[in-house]
């Protein structure tokens, strides 16, 4: 796939030997990778279709080393790409050919965990799940739970404003982070937010969440810990029709219920998952819903009763309630393993991430089915139905000429449709390099310009993760012109 034109930007005329010499002055020898075979493992993140070899990889062991790297790069005008566990799905950590990848893998200490104030101060390379594991003895946990939580890091979660299957009730990363400490492009230490619930001035902490590494390099994060609910139970409901399942989602919300999790999978997804994890899903169902309640035992009993009533009225063909924790985890295991399960039944897949108003779920599913026909590619659908976040998984084979391009075009149409339905091109995976062109479908030139000015307010020289997140104005114009032509032949829904 084509790489952003920023990647051959003449602004970055970097003298590699001089850069290496300067970095060697401030870093121990094992903190710098310069040989091709050492750089190769860093050429992509979770979006493997986009690859680029970095100029250098730096692995700081502490904040002082990270700061030294930024100061050298600022002085020499060298781009930097921050990298956590590289589980990101939009290419946000894809290297810049003229830049330094700053891996935060060695900053993996939990600095402080305070059960009384219910906060943890962690370095950016700490894994999401490690925070909950450390908090477990105090009956606390870190609420955002992206499916990659075994591997993904808190620094990456902040950069992407990661969600998860429980964010309808417990919020996204932005709702669960109190403070981010970071280093500006100029090499200054800055604190966004603080140990209190708010901070003076503009809410820069909100900007840091989801900024995809474009505003500052994160060196420390204070997260909120949440008391573990006494009990959680999940309802597994089957539907013989996707429209009924989509309507059931709206009916649950209309009944005044905020489920702890509300997920939907279509038949293609359940059929990929079931042989892989034996979650016990109904293989005849056109769609299944997972609807979770948590709280005190009394509260859960009351809410599960209300959920069942709504699901029955919505025409569910089968309803099962998890009878114990093992069964609850089994029901969830299928949903959490959906991506790898689909990965087993196709050589390659492209994961989309649009969000739409809930009421248009069924309409979107039908549109995707039509597009699947049009492009001749299979698509399994996994939704965070409660908040309208879709993950269509478009299956293709990169070894078949033209399939990758067809998959990309298929995905592009889904994202444009998400915008047309009043939604967004990305709910939680980020823009990165993957969706940078489609940004023009959602934002005007004036809005994109405002984003560029905002970026410059933090990073005047544009050194932090250039070419990601926000497209150049030239790209936007090009996209708009190309799509105007394409729209004449596009199907109408």
């Amino acid at each position: 796939m084509s790489i952003d034109s920023n990647y051959s930007d003449p602004r970055f005329a970097v003298d590699r030997p001089a850069l290496i010499a300067r970095l060697r002055e401030v870093l121990p020898s094992n903190a710098l990778l310069v040989e091709d075979e050492e750089l190769r493992p860093y050429e992509c993140d979770g979006l493997t279709a986009f690859r680029e070899l970095p100029l250098i990889v730096a692995l700081p062991e502490n904040e002082a080393q990270a700061q030294a790297i930024l100061k050298v790069c600022h002085q020499l005008k060298v781009p930097l790409v921050p990298r956590g566990a590289a589980t990101g799905l939009s290419g946000g950590a894809m290297p810049h050919r003229d830049g330094v990848v700053v891996s935060l893998a060695r900053l993996k200490k939990i600095i402080r965990l305070d059960p009384v104030s219910r906060t943890a101060v962690v370095q950016p390379g700490v894994r999401n799940l490690a925070v909950s594991e450390a908090a477990a003895p105090f009956n606390l946990y870190y609420a955002p739970d992206p499916s990659s939580q075994i591997a993904c890091t808190i620094g990456g979660n902040v950069a992407e404003n990661s969600g998860g299957v429980h964010c309808l009730k417990y919020g996204l990363t932005v709702h669960n982070v109190l403070r981010v400490r970071g280093i500006t492009a100029e090499g200054e230490i800055a604190e966004f937010g603080n140990a209190a619930l708010d901070a003076p001035g503009y809410d820069l902490l909100a900007l840091m969440n989801g900024s995809e590494g474009l505003l500052a390099l994160i060196t420390e994060v204070t997260v909120k810990l949440t008391p573990k609910p006494e009990l959680a139970q999940v309802v597994l409901a089957s539907f013989d029709d996707v429209t009924k399942a989509g309507d059931a989602v709206a009916s649950i919300i209309a009944a005044g219920i905020i489920p702890a999790g509300l997920e939907m999978m279509d038949k293609k997804a359940t059929h990929a998952v079931e042989p892989y994890v034996n979650a016990g899903y109904d293989m005849n169902a056109e769609a299944i819903l997972l609807c979770e309640s948590d709280g005190t035992p009394e509260e859960v009993a009351e809410e599960i009763g209300r959920m069942k009533a709504v699901l029955e009225k919505s025409g569910a063909s089968e309803i099962r309630v998890s009878q114990n924790e093992a069964e609850r985890l089994k029901f969830w295991a299928g949903r959490k393993a959906a991506f790898p399960a689909v990965g087993r039944v196709t050589p390659d897949y492209l994961c989309m991430d649009g969000t739409i108003p809930r009421k248009r779920l069924a309409e979107m599913l039908n549109a995707i089915a039509d597009l699947s026909q049009k492009y001749g590619l299979r698509c399994a659908n996994v939704f965070h139905a409660g908040d309208g976040n879709l993950h269509p998984l478009i299956m293709y084979d990169a070894n078949q000429p033209g399939e990758m391009e067809r998959a990309a075009a298929f995905g592009g149409e889904i994202l444009e449709l998400s915008v047309a339905f009043g939604g967004t091109i990305t709910g939680e995976h980020g823009v990165g390099v993957e969706k940078i062109n489609v940004m023009a479908a959602q934002f005007s030139l004036a809005e994109i310009s405002a984003f560029h000015r905002l970026k410059a307010a933090f990073d005047e020289r544009g050194l932090l993760n250039p070419g990601k997140g926000i497209p150049t104005l030239a790209r936007c114009r090009e996209y708009t012109q190309t799509r105007a032509g394409a729209a004449l032949t596009a199907p109408r829904f």
């Binding site: 104030s117 105090f138 009956n139 503009y202 900007l207 008391p227 709206a250 005044g256 709280g295 005190t296």
Partner: protein, 369 residues
């Protein structure tokens, strides 16, 4: 709204050309908060109405000049609410003013602040351009999160035309309990309870009494009430409204020994009100008469030496705002805790990015912009 936008864009261009400043105001209920108003008044309260509201989407889009009470009545009619319980501080309060001030009420400790519920904004910037950021959906990471940046920016970044907010169902059941307790014990208890899965939705401690509110499913509220004990509070809604709107005796009363002179002078010299935002575990601060909210994370304070208060807030890893005070004290002490050098630079740059000619609400947030 098109003619309004046209009119306001003209006002912005005029101000830019003539080098004047515009003072953006909704209902004027929060004029007391922040630095003094400067420049020509631009009345934003004329921009009214709910643009879209679908209860099953949990989202409402509303014009910024809409009275806050009007929006809340419409939501309540569908069994929903603004969960962060924003203070009005006057009948004229607007949704835009709520967003600009970024202030949240008692329920903030349980559900989050205004900024946590902002999904999208449409604003007119200082170049006269209409820009939309965010949207009407819960999860959206396309572009920087400008909507949340606008919350609490006191109108310094642009004229908010419309805002989309996440709404939640009203709690099914509520119960308020009161405990006789000194300040140190109250802080201990609040932090202990905070670590347990209890449905505590608000708290207020002052003058030897801790009041708690439980909200949620009927069964959960009843179970928590049994385990916590305490004495049931009658007229609970009125009590929480008095805390939220600062009509509670703590806020309304003059502090003995602080005010002297005639009645008019007394009003002038009423002890200033400080808002200290600190970690919930910060100890008793011993700075003067105190009212505690948000599980210990919000401390209201009457009177005191600004330098001592600011230093104490900073030592506790928090910050202090001079919430209500006369103009002279605000000018000398500053309303908001000063920013570190890198943050001050980023603030000026952001102001410049949205309002390059410095037209909007000069000095409301920090004196230099």
């Amino acid at each position: 709204m098109d003619s309004l936008i046209k009119d306001w864009t003209g006002r912005v261009f005029d101000a830019v050309e003539t080098g004047r400043k515009l003072c953006l105001r909704g209902g004027g209920s929060k004029v007391f908060y922040g630095g003094a108003e400067q420049g020509e008044l631009l009345d934003l309260s004329v921009n009214r109405g709910i643009v879209a509201y679908e209860p099953t989407e949990l989202v409402v889009t509303v014009r910024a000049g809409t009275p806050l009470a009007e929006l809340q009545a419409v939501l309540a009619g569908k069994g929903q609410c603004l969960a962060f319980e924003p203070p009005h501080f006057g009948a004229a309060a607007t949704v835009g003013g709520m967003l600009a001030a970024g202030l949240s009420g008692p329920r903030r400790q349980a559900v989050g602040a205004v900024r946590d519920f902002v999904l999208g904004v449409k604003l007119l910037d200082g170049k006269g351009e209409v820009l939309s950021f965010g949207g009407q959906v819960m999860k959206n990471v396309a572009g920087y999160d400008v909507p949340r940046l606008i919350a609490g920016s006191l109108g310094t970044l642009g004229i908010v035309l419309e805002v989309s907010l996440k709404v939640l169902p009203l709690p099914v059941a509520e119960k308020s309990l009161r405990f006789a307790m000194n300040e140190a014990d109250a802080l201990d208890k609040l932090n202990q309870w905070g670590g347990k899965p209890l449905p505590i939705s608000a708290c207020a401690w002052s003058d030897g009494a801790l009041t708690l509110r439980l909200s949620g499913a009927a069964a959960a509220v009843a179970a928590a009430e049994r385990s916590l004990g305490g004495e049931a509070l009658a007229e609970a809604d009125a009590f929480w409204a008095s805390v939220r709107e600062q009509t509670h005796a703590f806020f309304a009363a003059e502090v003995v020994g602080e005010a002297v002179g005639t009645a008019a002078e007394k009003t002038q010299e009423q002890a200033p009100l400080w808002r200290l935002s600190v970690p919930s575990t910060a100890p008793v601060l011993r700075l003067g008469p105190t009212l505690i909210e948000w599980g210990g994370a919000l401390r209201w304070l009457r009177g005191g030496d600004p330098a001592v208060i600011r230093a104490a807030a900073e030592k506790a890893s928090g910050h202090a705002t001079l919430f209500r005070a006369d103009a002279a004290l605000k000018a000398s002490a500053g309303v908001f805790q000063p920013l570190s050098a890198p943050l001050a630079r980023i603030h000026r740059n952001l102001k410049n990015a949205f309002d390059p000619h410095g037209v909007f609400n000069h000095g409301r947030l920090y004196p230099d912009f």
